[in-house]
């Protein structure tokens, strides 16, 4: 972990995302002191993710509007069909630019913009998935001084995405979902 206190968490997940996120997000308390931004690859609107996780999670779960200010205790799901970015100053910017690696929302786009905005105060997490999205973004987070955790490819539902993140980003640590969840809770206590 970097020395700087974490100010925001970004999470990317693809194939197997709902299962993996279900083991993490519901365990975060309602007063979790950080904003948590999540990109899941979903085929089309409406994704149903906010409805699903609202019922499971203690934290507030939203699909943000453009220029919304990030707040603690809130999970932000990228709206289907839009890239989710973070502006310097900590507000949301959405974009309808081309898909990246066939995906919109794209994990790389979220990670790279959040890395630029939060620098060393960012924690990135790459979960299960069957493509390479998130690998470049993870490297960018580390390049800006932040830290990256990756779901252990050996136990992930789809190993490709975590494996790609680890390959691009040697400073990232591979952990079980359980250990990732514990890390999330402990960085918030710093």
């Amino acid at each position: 972990m970097s020395a700087e206190p974490v100010a925001a968490v970004v999470i990317g997940a693809s194939a197997g995302a709902v299962q993996a996120l279900s083991e993490i997000l519901p365990r975060l308390p309602a007063d979790y002191p950080l904003p948590v931004l999540v990109v899941v690859h979903v085929p089309s609107a409406p994704s149903g993710l906010t409805t699903l996780f609202s019922t499971k999670c203690a934290m507030a779960v939203v699909e943000p509007d453009d220029k919304e200010m990030l707040a603690p205790g809130t999970i932000y799901f990228a709206p289907p069909g839009y890239h989710l970015l973070v502006e310097p100053g900590g507000s949301v910017a959405l974009s309808a630019d081309e898909p990246v690696l066939y995906s919109r929302p794209s994990i790389d786009v979220l990670f790279e913009s959040a890395a630029d905005s939060f620098g060393p105060a960012l924690l990135g997490i790459v979960l299960t998935g069957a493509n390479e999205d998130g690998a470049r973004g993870a490297a960018q987070i580390v390049a800006q001084g932040g830290s990256v955790l990756v779901e252990d490819p050996a136990t992930a539902y789809a190993a490709t995405m975590p494996a790609a993140a680890l390959a691009h980003c040697p400073a990232a640590r591979a952990l079980s979902l359980d250990a990732i969840c514990e890390a999330l809770i402990s960085v918030a206590a710093q």
């Binding site: 453009d66 502006e87 910017a93 959405l94 630019d97 913009s113």
Partner: protein, 278 residues
Amino acid sequence: MNEAPAEPVEDIEIQLLLEALYQRYHFDFRHYAKSSIKRRLRQAREQLGFATFSAMQEKVLHSEAMVGPLLDYLTVQVSEMFRDPGYFKAMRERVVPHLRTYPSLKIWIAGCSHGEEVYSFAIMLLEEGLLDRTMIYATDINPGALEVARSGVYPLDRIAAFTRNHQQAGGKTSLADYYTTAYGRAVFDKKLRAQVVFSDHSLVTDEVFTECQLVSCRNVMIYFDRTLQDRAVGLFRDSLTRRGFLGLGSKETLRFSEHAAAFTDFVREEKIYQRGEA
């Protein structure tokens, strides 16, 4: 040394590049959302083969030929005909009955890019029997994009999505009635644009040019910062007649706008607003 950390060199270079583009050519991207403009500029730098933004800036200042390609990176928007079908369905079912009460109509499609939204509105108005009495102003800052919009020609492989959207939007006819195909492309009927004026207009630097009953500006202001969003919404307010309509993108909102009080929700879930009486 205990000074505040210096701004990253890349950010300084980006500011200088945008300043050059403005001072030299009057294209003003200085108040675009930083995160998305940075991403687009990084793509442009990579694909146009520059090592740094400073090198790009030097080229921009000295070669006008550089401006077109750069604009294409900075303004390219990806849209579909009848994108977000629920929006067009709400327009048809909730807004069109109001539009019918006017003897003549003006509609402004702001930031029309390649024109998908323009043809969507034209088809809907034709189906509703209103196209003859409507003038549509389709504006964008990118001359290349306006040229594509004016041509009404789209790759054939996009037609399936357009057709699906048109049906979901409550289309009363077959989309195939409005285009012919040739050489892998779909050419939309000239009659759809007989009432359309395509024009160069910037929400950043230009003023209001007409009074209209409806403004549709979707997924354009997401690329602006708050200051610039306020300017654009102010233009829409000043352009709209009393009780005129403003349609935004599905994740855009007037909640954060300094002009929010001038509008009321009309179809909340589709981000269609109505200008108040004041």
